[in-house]
Subunit: 354 residues, 2 copies
Amino acid sequence: MKKHNFSAGPCILPQEVFQKASQAVLDLDNSGLSILEISHRSKAFVEVMDKAQSLALEHLKLPKDEYQVLFLQGGASMQFIMSAFNLMQTKAAYLDTGAWSAKAVKEANLLGKVDVMASSKDKNYNYIPKDYEIPKDVDYFHCTSNNTIFGTQMKHFPKVDAPVVCDMSSDIFSRDIDFSYFDVIYAGAQKNMGPAGATLVAVKKSCLGKVDRKIPSMLDYQVHAAKDSMFNTPPVFSVYVSMLTLEWLKAQGGVKAIEKQNKAKADAMYAEIDRNPLFTGFAAKEDRSMMNATFNLTDESLKDKFNNLLVEAGVNGLNGHRSVGGYRASMYNALPLESVQVVVKAMQELEKQA
Amino acid sequence: MKKHNFSAGPCILPQEVFQKASQAVLDLDNSGLSILEISHRSKAFVEVMDKAQSLALEHLKLPKDEYQVLFLQGGASMQFIMSAFNLMQTKAAYLDTGAWSAKAVKEANLLGKVDVMASSKDKNYNYIPKDYEIPKDVDYFHCTSNNTIFGTQMKHFPKVDAPVVCDMSSDIFSRDIDFSYFDVIYAGAQKNMGPAGATLVAVKKSCLGKVDRKIPSMLDYQVHAAKDSMFNTPPVFSVYVSMLTLEWLKAQGGVKAIEKQNKAKADAMYAEIDRNPLFTGFAAKEDRSMMNATFNLTDESLKDKFNNLLVEAGVNGLNGHRSVGGYRASMYNALPLESVQVVVKAMQELEKQA
C-alpha cells in the first residue's frame, strides 16, 4: 500500500517523478545507458543541468542576467559556512528563528562578527520575532524563511539596505513571493525540489567578489558560477530528479498554482487542530507555516491510541521533532490534499473514541 | 541496445545494481515508500548507512576500532581542502602526479606550507615519480593512487613516518593492497562505488584532533564521525546505491577476486595497444593503470574511421581527456571483460581496414 508520507525531509515527491526517475536508472531516454553511469560532461547531462537551472530561475522569477543558479552539494549546512565565506567581510546580521538559524550563526561566527538581531529562543522558537531594525553597515542580513522543526514561517521580510541571504530549504517553490528581494537564496533539495544530495543556490551576481579573503575553490560561488555548476562532478542523479520535479511544478501551473493547493492543505490541517479539543497548535497563529504544521495532544495518554489510528491509515512520518514533541504534518508541494484529509479523519476518529 | 560504457566517471555500475536501484525508486523493500522520500533518520536508512560503512571497512580490511568510515558530499574536490583543514598544522608533503594532485596542492596551500616532493608534470604526467624522500617533520604526506586522466597508477607507496592521505577516487576497491598503510583514504563514489554525489572517507581516528584551528562543522571529520555521517542529511540515494555496489562486490568474492578480473581486462587492453602498430600507449609501461588505459593513434588521419568502428560496436566514453587526447579505456570493477574485447576487436578491425 502506498503511504501518506508526511516526512519532514527527505520527503514525498510527485509520483510521476518517481516513475520517470526509476526508468532513467535503467535507461535514460533510450540511450542504452543508466542516468547513474553517464558522464556529467555528456550532452545529455549538460542539457539536464541547463534545464534545471532555467526552470529554477523561471519559478523564482529571477532574471538570468542578474542571478546565477548553482547546483551544489552539502545541503544548507554547507551553505551556512559557504555564504559567510563569500559575503562576510567584517560583520553580518542574523535573525534567530530556530535550530537551523542558530547553526548558521555558529558557522558564520568563525569568519566575522555576527549580530543576532532578534531571537525567539525564549519561547522554544514558536514565533517569528518582528521588532528589530537592521543596521546599515552590515555585510548582509541572514534569515530562515521557514522553520521546519517548529512550524513557523516568515510572512514578511524586513526593510534592509544590505544584501539578504535566506535559507529557504523548507519552503522554496511553495509560495509566490518577491524572490528578487533576496541576494542569495539557498535550499537543500530534499523538500520541494528533489532527493537529498543536491543544494540549490540562487545568487545575485553583483553581490559577489567583495571580500578580501582567499576562498577555498569548492566554497567559492564564483568558481562554481564560472563553470556552470560543473567545477567538479555534480550530484548527477539528484540534479536530474530535481529537473523532473521542477518540470512537474511547471505542469501544475507553477508556484502560484501550487501555493493555492498548499494553502488549501494548510487550512484543512490547522482548522482541525483548532477545532479538535484533543489537539493544540504549537506555533503562534500569525506565524504558522504552510509547509509544516506542528501540534500536540492535549492529553498525552491518548498517544498510543492516536499512533495506532495513524498506522492503520497508512500515515508515515507524522512524529514531531524531539525538541517540540507531538506531531508535525509536513505538507510539501507533492503531498496531495487527500493525505491531509486522512490525518484529519484520524484526529476526528480519536475524538470519537476518547 | 545496452552500451559498452568506458566512461571515466560517473561510470558503469553492475547491471543488477541498476535493477535494484530502479525498483527502490518506486518502492523500497515493499515499504510503500520510495528510497527518495524516506527520512534519513528512518530505521530503513540507518540500516543502509550502517551496512555501507561496514562493507567499506570489510573490503578495505580496516579495523573498525581504529578507522571511521564517513559518507560525505562534495567529491574528492571537497576533500582537497577538508583533509588539509583537519591535518595541516604547518606543512605537508605532496606528490604531484596529475591534474587532481595539482588541485589538491592548490587548496592545501591556503592553510599551510605545501612541499611538493616530486612531480611528473615535465612529461605531461605520463609517469609516477619515484626518486624522492619525505622529511620526517611534515604533518602528512598526500598522494593520488590512480591518475584517471593520464592512466598512471602508483604500484608502490613510499616509506614515510607521517600520516598518509590518499586520493583513491579512481581505484579504490579495485586491487588488494595494504590499506592500513593509509591514515586518510578518500574517494568520490562515482567510479568503483556508486553514483556521483557521495564521497567515501576512511580516516584513522588517531590522526584527528591535532590541529589548533577552528574547523567549520561541515569540514570537520570529527563532527561527522561523532554523528556517524548523519550530522546533516546525507545523500540518501547515492549511499544506498553505494551499499548495493559494495554488496555486489562481496558477492563477486571481494577486492582480491575483482583484482584478478581487472588484471585480465587491463592485460587484454594493453596487449592490443602494444601489439597493434596503429596505436601507442601514453603512460610509462611500469606505471600503467589497471583502471584507465590511455592510448593514441599513431596516425591521426585514422581517427574518423576508428570512431565509426566504435560507434558501430556500441562503445561509449572512450574519448581521451583533452589534456592527453586520443583514447582512454576506463575499466572499472563493473565493466565486463567482454566490453574490452569489443574495443580490441575494433582496434584489430581498424588495422585490417587501414
